[in-house]
Symmetry: C2
Subunit: 472 residues, 2 copies
């Protein structure tokens, strides 16, 4: 192997992300604000930000939290390389930024405390998925990366949970890397899809890094290259004799099923990837059964989503497992989750008073609640969740406290959980959700209450702001 990657003229690093160069992976305004905080003597003032989404995407009655591990990796490793600092110094916009601020970036790292809701948990609007308490400028700089990380993986984990719900126990495999928003999206999607209930991924790198089962079949190109379909199946089975999967729709699906039957001498699988899957699966099943191969499974793929799978399963299509790609990895019906990262508390007032003071925002439609919060997930007498309560962090309220401390002073509090346990947590959580909430076309509103103490704190801060606040 070459010791060094080959370089392109225009972009030497292929725009891949380097773990040692994460500092600049942020929005410019995080850095301008950090410099301005520094100049104003506020950079080191302790601040708390909370990351949450304001509303559910269409057709969703809940979300599944995911992405925390990648967020923690970032917080542990984000640094500014010398080249990064040199670049910032050279930008016209930073012409008046103090030299000491640039110097501070050399040793800069994240030193804060982080609380988070575990991955695989069912979450709702306004619930903090993550709470960061850190020196103000530090907490500010990490905003962009935290948002993209938690929002995307939560979106995919939720989509996977929906697709697996529709599949009613049939296996669902992530096939989406080729449709992802770049190759890294495919990696993260494979992880989140597994948390949400997928049984494996076609992405070999993700499978290797994460210990997920890598799954796959063969492509039309293989049949086309060899031309004779049966010969292609035999060539494939010669190398992959254990439960091979034959793609049978390259030329004629039923003839493909018959060719598979002629080749399979033990249990295997056939894959449909086009056409009317409901009708074809029945005809193929009949060919297989009549050919004495009732144990050969039918795997289906091709622009599937939770609605199509629900219809196939409800209609009794004899399909044993599904591959889902585009819709899963791009979260096609809800490709973004409007996560925000909001300042809720700063140590001391602007005048320098002691103590923590809550912060709120009053922009139209974008109100935020002040102070550090906790989410209490309440299990009803029937063993199903019946409400969440968002309260102040130190309140005692009924239900399980969802936010746990995951970092102290920039260090992990303990090891991060393995992916298997996160999938198991998600399965357990989904098992405690009402049928109405699970419905894939659902618009059920789950009760999420603000505690009395939190409401009172909002009113208190709003009144204080009115008397002394921002618009004077």
């Amino acid at each position: 192997m070459d010791p060094q990657p080959q370089k392109l003229n225009a972009t030497p690093d292929g725009l891949l992300l380097d773990a040692s160069r994460l500092g600049l992976v942020t929005d410019l305004y995080e850095l301008t604000m950090a410099a301005a905080y520094w100049s104003a003597g506020l950079a080191d003032r302790s601040a708390t930000f909370e990351l949450f989404f304001r509303s559910l995407p269409a057709s969703r009655s809940f979300m599944v939290a995911a992405g925390l591990e990648q967020a923690l990796y970032y917080l542990m490793n984000v640094r500014f390389a010398d080249d990064d600092i040199r670049y910032l110094r050279g930008l016209a916009i930073f012409a008046h930024a103090p030299a000491a601020w640039f110097e501070s970036l050399c040793e800069w790292r994240f030193t804060g405390d982080v609380w988070a809701i575990p991955e695989g948990t069912i979450v709702f609007p306004n619930e903090p998925l993550l709470r960061v308490t850190a020196p103000l400028a530090e907490a500010q700089i990490v905003e962009t990366y935290l948002l993209t990380t938690l929002a995307y993986q939560s979106s995919v984990a939720t989509k996977a949970a929906r697709v697996c719900t529709a599949a009613r126990g049939r296996g669902v495999v992530d096939f989406g890397t080729r449709r992802g928003h770049g190759p890294q999206a495919g990696m993260w999607a494979a992880r989140a899809a597994f948390i949400g209930g997928c049984v494996g991924t076609s992405n070999v790198a993700a499978a290797e890094r994460l210990g997920i089962p890598p799954l796959g079949t063969l492509a039309h190109s293989f049949i086309m290259a060899i031309e004779d379909e049966r010969e292609a199946f035999e060539s494939f089975a010669a190398v992959f004799p254990d439960r091979p999967t034959f793609l049978i729709d390259t030329f004629d699906t039923l003839e493909g099923a018959r060719n598979a039957l002629r080749t399979l001498h033990r249990p295997g699988q056939v894959r449909l990837d086009s056409g009317d899957l409901a009708a074809l699966s029945r005809e193929v099943r009949r060919v297989l059964d009549e050919g004495g191969a009732p144990d050969v499974k039918i795997f289906a793929s091709g622009d599937l989503n939770e609605y199509k799978i629900d219809a196939l399963v409800a209609g009794g299509a004899p399909i044993d497992a599904f591959g889902v790609g585009t819709e899963l990895t791009t979260v096609a019906d809800a490709p973004s989750l409007g996560c925000v990262y909001k300042l809720v508390e700063v140590a001391g007032g602007s005048g320098g008073e002691a103590g923590e003071t809550g912060r709120i925002k009053l922009s139209a439609g974008k109100r935020t609640y002040p102070g550090r919060k906790q989410v209490f997930q309440h299990l009803g007498p029937d063993g199903r969740f019946d409400r969440d309560i968002i309260g102040l962090a130190d309140e005692q309220l009924p239900g399980e406290r969802l936010l746990e401390q995951v970092m102290r002073d920039g260090q992990l509090v303990g090891p991060t959980p393995g992916l298997g346990s996160l999938q198991e947590r998600c399965r357990t959580q989904l098992g405690r959700v009402s049928t109405e909430l699970l419905a894939i076309d659902g618009h059920t509103t789950y009760p999420v209450e603000m505690s009395d103490a939190l409401e009172a704190e909002f009113q208190r801060v709003a009144r204080a702001k009115e008397r002394h606040g921002g618009t004077k």
Copy 2:
């Protein structure tokens, strides 16, 4: 700085992509097929694949090609590390794969020829954006990464072109990293958005790597941290005195405009990020003009897309520039482009005859044309493109030949173009497109013809297949 990234328990590398570990970033079936080709003695047979999309996403009458540079970087650097090969050897599915195949992966690299349509070019369904001629197994393995790379960047470049068309010359800034499908998507989106016409990006890492202007303002949190809005503006302007941008909607937008006016002693900008942008921009403009600051610009953001910008501009809203995030980076209305990578030719027949033989697929709705192709872009007498012709690679047809050779034997033919020249190419191409085709709600069908020779070749291969082919 720490010499080594800190490690998490569960996923040591944060699931970032390492340029030295790109081999496994592919679908499992690419590798199983590669092993089966090897065993069947077909791995080294020269094959040609073409990458294209079959249809346009909704509301689009054209696409802008992008992502080639990242695809080339991958092809230059894709390798299998020893750990990758060890992992594959340990998988049950590869239990019967020949030892020599695993050994071959140690020295494996991409050695093929690549032809491609330059980034920034207007493209249409069925036109090969990329054509790979390489040993069959090599050409197969690279499919997944090529698809995700070209499809995503082309989608973003197209979206950017639409947004910039709607902005009618006003600057559009990419603000989307926080909404991207992971942080790498934000990097690639910044690049593609610039090709499509954006003037800058908020993503500092992308700006640094690509030489794009980094642009940004300040966030609500800055105002909330300092509490007093005017004091916040003054703190910011102390460090960023040259044309600072003040976010004025944290508490009350018009009062925010007055506070900005009190602080700005030279040209600057105010930013609206919520509420009715059409009405607010007018009121803010009035406050600024009456306050003697006609040179202070208004920048608007907040869930914008091409339709909202079109309405704002058409309605005469006095907005000077726009920030677009979510819709741009997630390509919200068309988050995937159904690109495919199809085998069109293999050297020799399955029986081992000499010469190249075209390959076709007949699956329902998924027909492919055989042979290596070229796209001819024809300029009409009015200086506008009037049709494309897809022909065989060696045909002489009217129009500019769009596919150029970019790799020979796995090496770049020449340096890749700088991003500025790609943006310029896109601007030139868009300038030669008809107004109807440019319309953002357009459903205009641009004429794309298959040459007579290509149609004849399809018929010839189909007849040959019928006589001797895959369903015997």
